[in-house]
């Protein structure tokens, strides 16, 4: 596929990285900063074009004429929108994806139609990050919570500790522990390396376990991995930016929320937006302020400012002062690896969250959802099996008969409202949503091909 990425910021570069790793993609990146592009081209097998991303002549030089997808990820919403408009009007690009930050644009549905601003998919990183954090607060103890099949099934990552009832036992014992629920352990990471779990695998303390279960069963499952934590009540958010405010708005009805903002002007504005949450003026790394606000009783402390170093430090400080769980917004993967599961409980990477939802739209075959796990090392995919037995290479076949690449397994199948845990003899039916887990994401092309319907099927 010919892919045009506009904007070589963090999400743009990381999208270019992921997409150019797949052999069939031809990626071109456009940005105004020549030095950033040069550095990017040194690392990746892509073409780069220097120029303003929305100008028709720049897009033409970047090969918009025969591009299949335009992904607009520049810093400004307006540039992204105009770029998509140009791609649509001048170059007739079939698929246009744009990042739109401002919630104000997103509220109006009629804006993004073919005769107004033709953007097929709008991605709002702030909304995605906000939902991500919300899930983590909903399931205390989880490292990552991902939705599949419109939320009917969830994939949850959790760190096993000694108080989980399955820890130290074989996976097969799961059936006896919780006989009436269906769930599946998809992957286990021990010391950063992935294990291929089977019935005889013994879960050890500190393993990172990814399991998949129907929404209502997630908590039961969680208790198998670690001591169930009390539901979160008190939340402190450091940073009153867009993400912080969105999160506060989402949580303020059910939780006690305090939000710390440094700028008095900004604090006044957000205090007008929020109804129940308390806005505090001050620094998230101010020890006095944190103690004053009873940080030692806080269930979750989220550092969500724009400065990642400040986030890390204030989260570490909150942890030291007694906050039960601290999360921090961290962009750089290397920083995240450095602090996660050590001084900070959960590192939230807006990049990863955005990439996951972005990649799902750049897939062939009917792939509806792609989630990156462990910062891109693994991937969970939801694909739809279309067609009949003749056109599709998956429909009507048993799972054991499918030619899956190594390190890939089918975990769950969602058939209508029903959630079916996959067994080796489960037969895939038309329109099943198949959820796969793969530890080597470079094999994704094979999965795409597997789920692609023969051309004769229309």
């Amino acid at each position: 596929m010919k892919i045009l990425i506009l904007g070589a910021g963090q999400v743009g570069s990381s999208a270019a990285y992921h997409l150019s790793r797949e052999e069939s993609n031809e990626v071109t990146v456009v940005d105004r900063r020549a030095d950033v592009l040069r550095e990017l081209q040194d690392r990746l097998d892509i073409r780069t074009v220097v120029g303003h991303a929305a100008y028709p002549d720049v897009l033409e030089r970047a090969g918009a004429d025969d591009a299949d997808i335009v992904v607009a990820l520049t810093d400004t919403d307006e540039t992204n929108m105009v770029a998509c408009q140009v791609a649509y009007t001048v170059f007739h690009t079939p698929t246009k994806i744009a990042r739109i930050r401002a919630a104000e644009y997103m509220n109006d549905r009629s804006l993004f139609t073919q005769d107004a601003i033709p953007i097929d998919v709008r991605i709002s990183p702030e909304q995605l990050v906000c939902e991500f954090v919300e899930q983590l607060i909903l399931y205390p103890g989880a490292l990552q919570v991902l939705d599949f099949a419109n939320g009917r099934v969830r994939l949850v990552g959790a760190r096993a500790d000694e108080r989980g009832s399955l820890v130290g036992q074989r996976i097969a014992a799961l059936k006896e522990h919780i006989p009436n629920t269906e769930g599946r352990i998809a992957a286990i990471y021990r010391d950063g390396k992935s294990l291929q779990p089977d019935g005889d695998t013994i879960i050890e303390e500190n393993d990172e376990v990814f399991f998949i279960a129907a929404r209502q069963d997630v908590r039961v499952f969680m208790s198998e991995m670690r001591k169930l934590e009390d539901p979160v009540r008190r939340v402190v958010i450091a940073g009153g930016g867009n993400i912080g405010v969105r999160l506060a708005l989402a949580l303020e009805q059910t939780n006690q929320v305090k939000i710390i903002e440094r700028d008095p002007e900004r604090a006044r504005i957000i205090s007008e937006q929020l109804n129940k949450a308390i806005v505090l003026i001050g620094d998230g790394a101010d020890e006095e302020l944190l103690l004053e606000e009873n940080i030692d009783n806080v269930d979750v402390f989220c550092a969500l400012t724009n400065a990642e170093e400040a986030n890390i430090l204030s989260a570490m400080l909150a942890k030291k002062l007694g906050a039960h769980k601290v999360m921090s917004l961290i962009n750089r993967p290397s920083y995240a690896d450095l602090v996660e599961s050590g001084s900070i409980d959960i590192a939230i990477s807006p990049q990863q969250v955005t990439i996951g939802s972005l990649l799902a739209h750049v897939r062939r075959g009917d792939v509806v959802r792609v989630h990156s796990l462990r910062r891109g090392a693994a991937e969970a995919i939801e694909a739809v099996a279309h067609g009949g037995e003749r056109e599709s290479s998956v429909v009507g076949r048993k799972i054991e008969d499918l030619e899956l690449p190594r390190g890939t397994n089918i975990v769950t199948i969602v058939r209508g409202e029903e959630v079916i845990m996959a067994h080796h003899n489960t037969v895939i039916e038309p329109d099943d949503h198949v959820i796969l887990f793969m530890t080597d994401r470079r094999k994704i092309e094979q999965i795409e091909n597997l789920f692609q319907v023969d051309v004769s099927f229309v």
């Binding site: 010919k2 150019s20 052999e23 031809e26 990626v27 071109t28 020549a34 040069r38 081209q41 040194d42 690392r43 990746l44 097998d45 892509i46 073409r47 780069t48 090969g63």
Partner: protein, 483 residues
Amino acid sequence: MNWSVALRILGLLLMIFSITMLPPVAVGLFYGDQAWFPFLQSFAMILTAGPIAWFPVRNKQKDLRLRDGFLVVASFWTVLGTAGALPLFLVDQPSMSFTDAVFESMSGLTTTGATVLAGLDMLPKSILFYRQQLQWFGGMGIIVLAVAVLPMLGVGGMQLYRAETPGPVKDTKLTPRITETAKALWYVYLAFTILCGLAYLLAGMEPFDAICHAFSTVAIGGFSTHDLSIGFFASPAIDIVAIVFMILAGVNFSLHFFAWQNVSVRHYRHDPEFRAYAFVLLMVSAIVIISLALKDTYTDWNATLINGLFQSVSIATTTGFTTANYAAWPGALPVLLIFASFIGGCAGSTAGGIKVIRWLLIAKQGAREIVRLVHPNAEIPVKLGKSAVPARIVDAVWGFFSVYVVVFGLMLLVMMSTGLDQVTAFSAVAATLNNLGPGLGDVAAGFMNVSDTAKWVSVAGMLLGRLEIFTLLVLVTPTFWRH
């Protein structure tokens, strides 16, 4: 330093290169000459050497860094020059010393075209074919070919490509994928070779000669299957075919690609480097033809025209074919032609020399200094076409130029210390460093009469010229090896 990765790729490349020993075997068997066996021996030896390098490190699948790219390319060309010498060294007739064999093979691969062999017309066909084939692979670059056919190089392909392709600007790709870019270049190259071969055939060459000369023309090599070079055929039609294809091969291949892709010649007209290249060729040819006419070197007006044009194009593009003994031409003409070879062809072509674009940038900078004298406060960017050239590239051009001059001076001194006279030494260095081929004085016909030391200096010069000095030079700097 990533030795294992470099070694792994080197092994793979050697295995690929071994295949190039097979066509000469076929040629030898077809014509029934006795020289095919050494090629089979070399094939076996190189084919086993490849896995020896590759096998112990076959699982080291790391990405190639920029530094490793230099190492792989430089060592591959060095190894290749030696490996390519194997069949020449092993063959009985002509019997060649190791030095001669390496010289001949390196001269082929770097598309220089200087030879130590006399009596080419008597040599076995397989040897003749092999020399031409070496030039053909070296022309577009055997590494570019490897990048095109080895998909697993990935990003590493870009590093290798950059270390091998000539020119100051190496980041422009024709397509987003480096493999596709390399393939596109080779397709254009292949198309030109086929066209050139057909044109030679139509102009009256034997099929064998047509193929062989197509190889060395499009590669801007200069090897011939006859001692008299293209002059052997004494046919104006063949001369014209050669002139046309030498000119085409000296143009940036990206331009050919765009022309082919968009079916238009618009790109040529708008490319500043192409215009400068055409201008240089035109000027040199005009001066040569007029001087020849004024001095009455040839009695026939047609001979003056065709010989003047042929030699000018052949030397200025650094091909090195000859139809006349230009070293004996009157006045400043021989030296003028040698000077023209310093300009060479366009960046991204198969030609040698410093490249037109660098001269263009240097000239524009000179012009800028003059304007600055008149308008001391003016802000004057160096522009190519309509866009300004980044200061970094302009700096790099000066860096290249100064290193070229220094390397030239050093080589000249060494050459003279081996006992060559000044004209011979000067032209020998120019002929090798610019990948030209024939020089003046004692090396006008070939390098058979110079000492072994001079030959080895020439080998180094050819390699430096082909890899544009820096790729090789960077390996001898302490910075490169510091971790």
